[in-house]
Symmetry: C2
Subunit: 712 residues, 2 copies
Amino acid sequence: MKQFTLSLAFFLCFSLTFANDGYKLWLQYYPFENAEHEASCLPYFLKISVVGNSQTISVIKEEIEIAAEGFFAKKHKPEFQQNPDARLWIGTIESVPANLQAAWKSELSQITEEGYWIKSQAGRLYIIGKTDKGLLYGTFGFLKAVQTRTPLDGFEILENPKIQLRLLNHWDNLNRTVERGYAGFSIWNWHRLPKHIDQQYIDYARANASIGINGVSVTNVNANALVLTPEYLEKAKALADAFRPYGIKVYLTARFNAPMILDNLPTADPLHPAVQQWWKNKAKEIYGYIPDFGGFLVKADSEGQPGPHNYGRTQAEGANMLAEAVKPFGGIVMWRAFVYNEKTPTDRIRQAYDEFKPLDGKFRENVIVQVKNGPLDFQPREPFHPLFGAMPKTPLMMEFQITKEYLGQDTHWVNLASMWREILDADTYAEGKGSTVSKVLQGKVHPYSLTGIAGVANIGTDRNWTGHPTAQADWYAFGKLAWNPDADVDRIATDWIKMTFMQDQDFINTTKGIMMKSYPILVEYMTPLGLHHIMARSHHWGPGPWVTGGGREDWTATYYHRATKDSIGFDRTAGGSNALAQYAPEWEKAWGNPSTISLDYLLWFHRVPWDFELSTGNTLWNEMALRYQRGVEGARWMEGQWIQLEGKIDPERYQHIASFLRIQVEEAVWWRDSCLLYFQQFSGKPLPQSVEKPLHDLNYYLNFKRNFVPGI
Amino acid sequence: MKQFTLSLAFFLCFSLTFANDGYKLWLQYYPFENAEHEASCLPYFLKISVVGNSQTISVIKEEIEIAAEGFFAKKHKPEFQQNPDARLWIGTIESVPANLQAAWKSELSQITEEGYWIKSQAGRLYIIGKTDKGLLYGTFGFLKAVQTRTPLDGFEILENPKIQLRLLNHWDNLNRTVERGYAGFSIWNWHRLPKHIDQQYIDYARANASIGINGVSVTNVNANALVLTPEYLEKAKALADAFRPYGIKVYLTARFNAPMILDNLPTADPLHPAVQQWWKNKAKEIYGYIPDFGGFLVKADSEGQPGPHNYGRTQAEGANMLAEAVKPFGGIVMWRAFVYNEKTPTDRIRQAYDEFKPLDGKFRENVIVQVKNGPLDFQPREPFHPLFGAMPKTPLMMEFQITKEYLGQDTHWVNLASMWREILDADTYAEGKGSTVSKVLQGKVHPYSLTGIAGVANIGTDRNWTGHPTAQADWYAFGKLAWNPDADVDRIATDWIKMTFMQDQDFINTTKGIMMKSYPILVEYMTPLGLHHIMARSHHWGPGPWVTGGGREDWTATYYHRATKDSIGFDRTAGGSNALAQYAPEWEKAWGNPSTISLDYLLWFHRVPWDFELSTGNTLWNEMALRYQRGVEGARWMEGQWIQLEGKIDPERYQHIASFLRIQVEEAVWWRDSCLLYFQQFSGKPLPQSVEKPLHDLNYYLNFKRNFVPGI
C-alpha cells in the first residue's frame, strides 16, 4: 500500500474549522439558497397553531423551533398560539374545525393510527393526524418538504405507515462494546443512567422519530440477564421515559435461562410452571418500571445462546411462554428465526426453514418471528429467506443488518437500500405472482395481525454516529423502508443527500450516482457470482476464502465455497442439500439450472466446473476474475467521482469520505488479489489479460493479520 | 435514592437544540458582548502579516481564521499578506525589522526556545518568538487575550515555559478501552489509522497547543508490546505527522519484555548484549517512521509489569539501556518511580523512595524519573512525594492524574488545580526553605538538564471529551501549570470560565466560587483527616473502607486505615513504618506529633485513639463525623449555587452539570453514611447531633454492588 503523506493542503483541508462533524445527520436544517423560495416558506414558520398539550406536542414545537433556527439563520422565531392568522395549523382529527371536518370527511377517514395528512387550503397548511404521534410524523414530513425545498403552497400528502413495528435492534453490550459495531462503542452510558439523560439520547430519539422508527431494542441479542434486574430496569426506564415523547418504545433482549442465572431456578424449561411464573413475575416487574414496555426480543438456541431446545421444547413453546408473560400488559415477543446448529446434519441455510415451517400456526398471537433477509447471515448478496411466504399463520418480520458486518464494516461506502430493495421486491409466489417479500411483511399476502421490520443498528460513539458519513444514509433509508417497504430508493437517496448536504444539482447527481452503483460494485469485488461467507474468521473483516478447520465447519469459508480442482460452489439443488426446494416451484425452475440461473446466485445453488461456459460467453473462472476486476474498477470510479466534489461541501465530511474511499479502493484490490490467487490454486488457470496482476503472492495474504479489529 | 422523574420542563431543557455539546472546549471563540470593544479588536483581525512558511505557520493562520469566524460571527475574514497596514504582525526574531530589533534588543534576548513576546507598538501588535512553535503559542496567547476581553491596545506580555516536557499520558489500550478512563473510550481509532486522520485528532492537537502541551504518550503504561511493531508504528507515525504542526511530539510506552514477546529473545535482561541490541534496532526502526519521536515512557516492576527486577537489575540499569537506544536520535526515557511490591516487607508508600534514592546519579542524562504527586496513588489528598528534593543528580518530573480515578471519576466536580497547587507549593526544604516542589520541577533547586510535568489524560470519546463538562477545566489547568507551575489557579479558573462559557460577572463569580471550594469539599466527604485508599475494590468508585482480604494486602482498605476498637490510622512515625523519615527534618518535626500535625494528614502519619482530642476541641471520632457531614453540605451548596445559573448558559451544558451535581450530592451522602457506619463499628460512639442519620444500615452498603463500572 502506498505511503500516506500529509501535505500542507491536507492540513488546510482538515483544520479549517470545527466545521460539520455530521452529528446533525439529515436534520441539518441549513439556510435556504433562494430568497424567493425562503420568502414563500417563511410565513409557515412565524405563527403556528398547535392544538393539544402533551410531551409529544412539546417535541413538535421544539423541532419546529430548531428547524426554523437553521432555515432562517436565527432571524425568525416561531410563535405558537391559537392564532387565527396562523399559516401552519397542527392538530388531531377531532380538533379540526367542524366545517373542514365535513368537507374533508373522506380524507380524514383514511388517516390511520400513526399516519398524517398534510393539506394546503386557502393559504394555510394543515397537519392532521389521528394521534399526537401522527402529528409528530406529520411535522417531520412537513419539515422534510422544506428541507428538500418542495414548494409549500398547494402541498398535500397523505402518509400512513405500512408496517406496525419499525425497530432498531442494538447489539450493545452492558460494558458498552457493540457486537458487530463499527462506529465506536455503545451510546448507552449505563453507568450514568438513570440520573443523567444525555442530550445524545434525545437527539437519537429525534432522528428516529423523523424517519418513523417507533421502537428500539437497546441490548444485544446475545443477551446478558443482568438487564432484567432492578439495577438495569431503572436505567432502561430512564431511556424509555426519554424516548416516549418521540413515539419510541423500549424493548429488551431476554436471555432464555435468566430464571436460572438470576434466581437459581433449577431449569429454564418453558413448560415448567415455576419458570412460567418467574417470567410472569418478571414481566409484571418490568411493566412496573415501564408501563408501555414493548416486549422481548429473543435469540435462542443459536450460537451458544440457551433456548427451548435445551429442554426438548420447540421454538414455539419457548416463545409462547414469554408471550403469555407479557400479554396482560400488551407486550409482544419478537422471536428470531436465526436458529442453526453445527450438529444438525444438514446444510446450515436449510435449518431455520426446517425448524420453523412445521411450527406455523403454533405461536401465540403476540409473537412475531423475526427472520433475516437471507437464509445465511447478512452476506453481501443472498437470495431472500425462504420462510417469507412460507408461514401463512405466523406473523413474520424482517431483520436487516444496518451495520455492515460483511460489507466492508466502517470504511466501505455501500448503499444498503439497494440491497434491501432487491430483497423486498423478491417474489415469494406464496399466493401467486406478485407475492413479494414486501407484501408478505405488510400482511397483504397473509393477513398478519402483527407486522414489523427491524434493523440492526449501525450507531456508536463516533461523532457522526455511524462511522462512515454515508452510513447515515443506511439508517435513514432503513427508517423510510420500514415505514413503506415499497418506497423508491432513488428518491430516498435524493432526499437524504439534500437534507444532509446541499441542494446543488451536480452534487446530488454525482453523489447519488455513486450510491446507486455502490452495491453491485461491492458485491463484485467481494463475493461475485453467488460466493458467500468467504470473509476472514471471527471478525469478518477482509477476505478469508482459505478459512478452514477450527471448532465449527459451518463457520469456515471452505464449507461454503467447496472449491476443488474441478469445480466450485455449494450444490443446493435436489442433487445436493436441496435447500432450493424451500422456495416456490417458480424459483426451483428459475434457479435449478446452472445455465439459466441469474449469475448473482450461481455458486449459491450450484457446483460449477471452472471451465463451464456462462451466459456471458466466459468460462466460470474468467468471469469470476473479470468481475473481481470490475469491482475494483468500480471502487476506483467511486473515488474518482467523489474527488470531483471537493470544495462543494464542508471539508470535514468531504475529507472523511475521501479518506474512507481511499481505504475502500485498497481493500477492493486486497479482496480481488487474495481471492483470485486463492481460487487460482484450484482452477489452475491464468488470469484474463484485462485483470491486473496481484500486488503480492498468496502467502502474503494468508499471513496478513491485523490486531484488534473492531466489532467482536 | 429518589426516583428520577422526567418533567415536561426537563424535556424542554434538553431538547431545545443541538446547542453546545462542549466539543469546542475553551476554544469557543464566541462573539463579543460589547460593540465598542469589538470595534477595538477588529482591526487586528483584518490584515495580518505572518512571516514564514511552515506547517506551523499554516496552523497559526487557520487558528486566527477560526477565531475570527467566531468572534465576528462570520462577518469578517482575515487577510494574510505582507501588508504594511497590517495591525497584527507575527514573525520570529530574525524577521523583526532591523530598527525594531535594535530597539527591542533586551526583550528579544529574553525569549526562549518555545517562548513568545507580544508587544503593542504604534497601534500595531507584534507576536514574536524564537521558533514557529513559539509563534503558535504566542498566537494562542493573543487569542486568549481576546477571548478574555483584554484590551489589545497597549497589550504586552512575555511568556516562556518554565518546564520543558509538558506531556499528556494516555492510558489507552489498543482495543480502545481506557484504563481509569471515565469519558468513554479511546479517541485513537487504531483500526482506521494510518489512512484516516480524524478531525478530532486535529482538534485534540489544537486544544493541547493552545495550553502549551508539547508531547503525548498515546498508549497505556500497562503496555502492549504490539505498539512497537510495524503495524502500529505506521499508525503512530500518522498521529505524529498530524500533531507535528501543533508542536506536539509522540511518545510510546515500552513493555520491558518486548524483545521476548515480539522476537522470542530468551531474556529481557537489560545487561544482555542481545537485548541491548534489540532495543537499539527497535529505536532505529521507530525513528525511521517518526524522525522526531519523543521517546519511551516506562512502567516497570509494578503491578505485574515486567522490569529489570526480573533479572536482578536496578531501575537505573533498565532505564539506561532504553536511554542508550534512543540517545543517537535525541530521544529520552521517562521512567516511572511507581515501583512497589506486596512482597517487599515494608509500608508500600516507602518503597519508591527506598528504591530510587540510592540510584541518584546513576541514570543516563536522557533519563527523567516520573514521580506521582504523592507516595501512594493519586488519593484525594496525599502529602507530596518524598522523592521530590531527594534526587539532586537525577531529573524528576511530576505525574499528575487528570482523570479522577479516586476523586469521583466522571460525575464529581472537583477542581484539580487546587490540589495540584497544594503539591506544587509544598516545601521540600531540600536546599533550605523555599525549595518547593514547583522549584524542584523547574530545575531551580537542583540544576536538572531535563524538566517535565505529565498528566494522565481524562480524554475519551464522550462528545465533550472529558465526560464531566467541568473536567475540561482540569485538562486546561494542567496545561497551564505544566507551562508555569507557579501560575495562579484562581486566574486559571477565571480564564477557563470566560473562554468556555461567558463573560457575565455573576456567572464567573458563582462558577469560580464552586470551583475554588470543590476540592476541600470532596476531601471531606471522601477521605477526611488523612484517610486514604478506602475506595471500593478494583474500580475505586465509591466507598469501600471494608475492603479486606484478597491476593494483596496493599490493595485493601484495611491495610491503610487499620481501624480497631481503640484507634485508627497508619503509624508512619519512627514508632511505625517511619516513612516520615523520608521527608526533611522540618516535616519530621511538623508532622511527627499528632497534636500539632495538620489535620489534613493526621491519619496518614499517625494511629490515633478515637477519643483523642484534636486542636478543634473535638474528639477524633466527632471530628471525622463532622467533616463527613460538612462535605455533604458542601456538595449540596455546590448544587444550590449552580442551579441559580440556569438560563445563563446553553441548556445542554447547564443540564449536564446539573444532573452530575445531583449524582455528586447523592454519592457524597453515600460516602458519609457508609464510612461513618463502618467506622462506628470500631469507635462504638454515637454520631454527633448535627450529623444526619444514615439512610440505610451498614449491611446495605456492604452489599451495594454495581456492574460494569467504567475504567477497568
